[in-house]
């Protein structure tokens, strides 16, 4: 794939004193629990392959301990892999020496942290300008762009304050501004919103989507919250015990869960609100013009609302003024029930 900004290939990470000896066992199929029990080594990541596309938000999701933080730290080599390749923008970052690595971190990537990780003794303005001052940019240029980005994240007027004078949500805005000031293509966000309460979190997600519309950065976002993942993901990777269980377009994963684990994971989601019309429709284009029009990006809730309870209704689905398919309300109703329960109704409680 040509538009891939990062390629992660056959990545393995094993924690423990004798990781290189363990690698062959991991490669020949040993899983996390067995390796811990038999050899006392933690299998952090096992055979990870991900293509991260330029300008997309890739969300990595998994429960606590599934290896999300470990994975994202391989992208800027805060952690070195036991085996495998990480290609960022055409360069194999495992071949970089110390100085080249510093250069890569300074110019190509930025990071936002769960616990904000701001410098407590520096002002909001200096914190926001940190990536540039590390590079040794001119003082005035730094302040100017730091001010601009603080304004973009809604923190104008707070420049002279110290981090402890801000609420958690505002501190994370500084964290976001800091990442943006670095002006790098890749933005790594490790559970950036997990420490925030739901309302603030939701507004921070909106802020991110709004910024992303303008900036088209390549973002790797980690979360353990499925709603958050579905809201912002272009590409969703689901991790379990250091392995990828499924990856793909979020809508696709919702409709075609690969195994019971994912089915379980997605079973509690409000499907009517998350599923889009275009993922449920059939791609037949009917010639008749008397059908009501519906935007493909609307969610099923909107479709149900428009049908006014009429189960036999059919819509013509449009995207950008072009008809792309038709939507039968019966398909909508089917999609609302997870696939597992559809095929085996006795399982449903």
């Amino acid at each position: 794939m040509t538009d891939s900004f990062i390629s992660i290939r056959n990545l393995y990470k094993i924690f423990g004193p004798n990781s290189s000896a363990m690698i062959s066992r991991a490669k020949s199929g040993m899983h996390k629990a067995d390796m811990l029990k038999e050899f006392g080594h933690v299998l952090g990541l096992r055979n990870i392959n991900i293509e991260i596309k330029k300008g997309e938000i890739t969300v990595i999701m998994g429960l606590s301990g599934s290896g999300k933080s470990t994975l994202i730290r391989h992208l800027n080599r805060l952690i070195d892999p036991t085996s495998g390749e990480v290609i960022v923008n055409g360069t194999d970052i495992l071949k970089l020496d110390r100085l080249q690595l510093l250069q890569l971190r300074r110019t190509q990537m930025s990071m936002v942290f769960q616990k904000f990780a701001l410098l407590p003794h520096e002002t909001v303005l200096t914190n926001a300008g940190m990536p540039c001052s590390v590079r040794g940019d001119d003082r005035r240029v730094i302040d100017k762009s730091a001010r601009e980005w603080l304004h973009r994240v809604g923190l104008s007027g707070a420049e002279a304050l110290y981090p402890h004078q801000l609420s958690g949500g505002m501190q994370q805005r500084v964290g976001l501004a800091r990442a943006l000031t670095s002006n790098s293509e890749l933005m790594l966000m490790d559970e950036a919103y997990s420490a925030l309460d739901p309302l603030i979190r939701s507004s921070m997600q909106d802020l991110l989507l709004e910024l992303q519309e303008d900036l088209q950065k390549t973002i790797v976002f980690i979360t353990h919250d499925l709603d958050e993942a579905l809201k912002i993901a272009d590409h969703l990777v689901i991790l379990k015990d250091g392995e990828i269980v499924q990856q793909g377009e979020p809508q696709h994963i919702l409709l075609n869960p690969a195994d019971p684990y994912i089915e379980d994971f997605v079973s509690d989601i409000n499907r009517a609100r998350v599923l889009r019309v275009r993922s449920v429709m059939t791609e037949t284009i009917s010639g008749s013009t008397d059908l009501e029009l519906l935007d493909g990006d609307e969610n099923l809730e909107a479709a149900i609302l428009r049908s006014k309870g009429e189960a036999g209704k059919t819509f013509a689905v449009h995207t950008a003024g072009q008809q792309v398919g038709t939507l039968k309300m019966t398909d909508v109703l089917k999609a609302l029930v997870p696939a597992a329960r559809r095929s085996n109704p006795s399982n449903a409680e």
Binding site: L104, R105, Q114, F116, A117, L118, H121, M130, P131, H164
Partner: protein, 318 residues
């Protein structure tokens, strides 16, 4: 020859249990002449010390000469200042360091009081020694602490040495130093004070840097800071409250050592205390002791006020 045989030869048989002497060096020497007596051992140690003294002096003398020079000059400068200038400068320093009006006023009152009872010159001598020694402790101790925080091996080696420096009775320090340097040289007591007082500066720098929030350090790495940038921009500033606490302790330890160091000709309030003891001049000793207490409170309050100021900047909640 087994131990048992030796013991029985030394007199006393198995029958008289109480009479068996402990097989100390002296007792064993009686049984076998080739075993040294305890006094041979101490004499040997002394000879050894005298033998290595000269080579050590060759190295140590030039290294420590600046210390003598700094102490002499500091004491002279402090004493050559007119009393009002000295008080103004000290009060200004207190204000700048602590920024607390109450503390500054207390400092002013203390020095006026010391001057009023004619102890000002002595107090200035003591203060000069403390300032020089504290400064050197910081200049040497903080870098050692930084090195220690970066290497677990170094920490493992240094910790017992620091423990020893802190637990050795203060008089014991003076013994090897008296051998090495003449009593007329200021560096003799300077080294004793520094060895004793440097420990908390090293320890708390090490501790402070090791306690720096791992998340902030990770952020520093993620944005490509060099280890030098990390040290100056993250580790030292975040460790500053601990380092300041260490300096506060260093100052207090210097004060306690400078009093004892009057035994080896350190000038200042300690000499008055010593006179009180030697000549049984009870009043002189007590008043000088009071002066030391006042000096201790002044130093503690000012350095603590500075510490609190730094703490407040870091985490206002606390």
């Amino acid at each position: 020859m087994t131990l048992d045989e030796l013991v029985s030869k030394a007199g006393g048989g198995e029958a008289e249990v109480e009479a068996i002497p402990f097989p100390s060096l002296d007792v064993l020497h009686k049984a076998c002449g080739s075993i040294p007596r305890t006094r041979d051992m101490t004499a040997g140690l002394e000879r050894l010390f005298l033998d290595v003294k000269d080579p050590i002096k060759v190295v140590l003398d030039p290294l420590t000469q600046p210390l003598s020079w700094a102490l002499r000059n500091a004491i002279e400068t402090m004493q050559s200042l007119p009393w009002w200038a000295a008080i103004i400068i000290l009060v200004l320093i207190a204000q700048l360091a602590g920024r607390r009006v109450g503390v500054t006023l207390f400092v002013l009152a203390s020095f006026l009081g010391l001057a009023f009872i004619d102890h000002f010159a002595y107090a200035m001598q003591t203060l000069a020694i403390i300032l020089v020694c504290t400064l050197i402790c910081v200049l040497i101790g903080v870098p050692i602490g930084i090195a220690m925080s970066r290497s677990n091996v170094l920490e493992r080696w240094l910790t017992p040495m620091l423990d020893m420096l802190q637990t050795l009775p203060t008089f014991v320090y003076l013994i090897p130093l008296i051998f090495l340097f003449s009593v007329t040289e200021p560096k003799l007591y300077g080294i004793a004070i520094i060895l004793y007082a440097i420990v908390p500066a090293i320890r708390l720098t090490n501790l402070g840097i090791r306690l720096v929030d791992a998340d902030v350090l990770e952020a520093a790495d993620a944005f490509g800071m060099t280890s030098r940038q990390k040290l100056l921009r993250v580790q030292l500033p975040l460790a500053l409250p601990n380092i300041m606490a260490g300096i506060n302790q260093t100052i207090m330890l210097s004060l306690s050592m400078v009093v004892i160091a009057s035994l080896v000709s350190a000038p200042g309030l300690g000499t008055l205390v010593l006179r009180g003891i030697n000549k049984l001049e009870l009043g002189v000793g007590l008043v000088a002791g009071l002066g030391i207490v006042i000096l201790a409170i002044v130093l503690d309050r000012v350095s603590r006020a500075a510490l609190q100021r730094v703490n407040k900047m870091h985490q206002p909640g606390a």
